[in-house]
């Protein structure tokens, strides 16, 4: 696990990604355990609170701690639709690459085998959500 410093924006994105990756609402402790590294509990807590005040996350009190999940409000759903439509339009244009940069391209079956071999030492594809519940 790397220890290089994160900027505030970077941290917000990572915390949001951690909440979105989890199958159920998560506490600050869950996020901290998931992200690991050199993060402090208070840093994660303030970041979660900031995301909640921006309306990206919602929280509910569970015992003595808040649990956070994606807000899923109408504005967010609208955003998903906008993203989806943009993707459809641009995918139909061969010269769309200028404005839409995808993380990964499509694979051939041969590519799949090469990539699987690269990941082989780990034997399986771990799913982070599956580990969230363990202490």
């Amino acid at each position: 696990m790397s220890t290089s410093a994160r900027g505030r924006g970077e941290l917000e994105r990572e915390v949001l990604a951690a909440v979105a990756a989890a199958p159920a609402p998560v506490s600050a402790n869950d996020v901290l355990r998931d992200l690991g590294g050199a993060l402090a509990y208070t840093t994660v807590m303030t970041t979660l609170a900031r995301l909640e005040s921006k309306g990206v996350l919602t929280r509910q009190l569970d015992g003595r701690a808040y649990r956070y999940s994606l807000s899923g409000d109408p504005a967010e759903v609208d955003a998903s639709l906008a993203a989806h439509r943009m993707r459809k339009v641009l995918e139909s244009r061969p010269d769309r690459a200028g404005v839409l940069a995808r993380f990964v391209a499509d694979l051939s079956d041969e590519d799949e085998q090469i990539l699987l071999a690269l990941l082989a030492p780990e034997t399986e594809l771990p799913v982070s959500g599956g580990e969230a519940g363990s202490p």
Partner: protein, 311 residues
């Protein structure tokens, strides 16, 4: 005549070396060098063709009279009139292509910007969609957004999610779309530069990969993230055929494997000799354009001078 050929030859040479340069240079250097080279070469080619066309046009009696030039002096031009006329027609067609391309590119930028607005600010530019298809991409308008589906996020461990986010953030921070769009424009104006566009597209992806690897300080981790994200996406698409439109990405199908393997090797070293020789190559095209301008100006001065003295 030879001067006219230099930028054309440089364009062809650049098309040939673009791929090898992209594979050998650090990707940020490759993207910058190739974009600048493509622009200069496209401008130089367009310029010399334009000048040849103008010289041919100026020999038409009506135009020569209008410009007060001696036709006999202009006819001594080293470019045959037929060839000049062809060059002129070609340059008009190429300018038309470039303008059409520029309009499409601006329209795409506006669409991207409108999408960014509708996406809202998100968490510092990150928008999570509740999509069952694992996907992650950057929408690059004037502002930019990183869009990642929940399916992609939940399929990656935390440290690999960090690689993905750093990769997309690099696209936005360095405005990679500008490099791609400028070389696309250059290739529209000069089809010999097509390969340069492809090389720059690979280079900006590699640039973002290298940035992400540097951000997390772990190259094998970055390679794993790339491999796993590709496999996630691939499996969902084979599981549900027809759920995604047949995309036009076939040309770069292999690039995920190439990118992953590049991350498993040490970061490419700067190579001054390669950068320098490419720069010299491109400067040849620029110099040919400059010389053409100088010679032609001289020729027209002479033609005007002769007309005034013979009349």
């Amino acid at each position: 005549m030879t001067l006219l050929l230099v930028p054309v030859l440089v364009s062809l040479a650049l098309g040939l070396v673009a791929g090898p340069l992209e594979r050998r240079l650090p990707p940020a250097t490759a993207a910058r060098l190739l974009t600048a080279s493509a622009l200069v070469t496209a401008l130089a080619t367009g310029f010399v063709l334009g000048v040849a066309g103008f010289v041919a046009l100026s020999q038409v009696p009506f135009v020569a009279a209008l410009g007060q030039w001696s036709r006999t002096a202009l006819q001594q031009s080293h470019i045959p009139q037929v060839l000049g006329a062809a060059a002129g027609a070609l340059v008009l067609a190429l300018i038309g292509r470039a303008v059409r391309h520029a309009i499409v590119a601006v329209r795409h930028l506006c669409a991207a910007e409108a999408t960014c607005r509708r996406l809202g600010p998100g968490a510092d530019g990150l928008v999570v969609t509740d999509d069952s298809v694992p996907d992650a991409y950057a929408v690059q308008g004037l502002s930019g957004r990183i869009v990642v589906s929940r399916a992609m996020l939940s399929g990656l461990p935390a440290d690999e999610r960090r690689v993905l986010l750093a990769h997309e953030a690099s696209h936005l921070r360095h405005r990679h779309h500008v490099y791609v769009q400028l070389t696309q424009l250059a290739a529209a104006a000069n089809p010999a530069l097509r390969q340069v566009t492809d090389a720059v597209q690979v280079a900006v992806e590699r640039w973002a990969d290298e940035d992400a690897a540097a951000d997390v300080g772990d190259r094998p981790l970055a390679a794993r993230a790339l491999a796993r994200a590709s496999l996630l996406r691939h499996r969902s698409s084979t599981a549900a055929p027809g759920s995604r439109p047949a995309s036009a990405l076939a040309a770069v199908t292999n690039s995920v494997v190439v990118r992953t393997q590049a991350l498993l090797r040490p970061a490419p070293r700067p190579r001054r000799a390669l950068v320098l020789s490419t720069t010299v190559l491109v400067l040849c095209a620029a110099a040919a354009a400059g010389l053409t301008a100088h010679d032609t100006e001289h020729q027209f001065e002479l033609a005007r001078h002769l007309l005034h003295h013979t009349s």
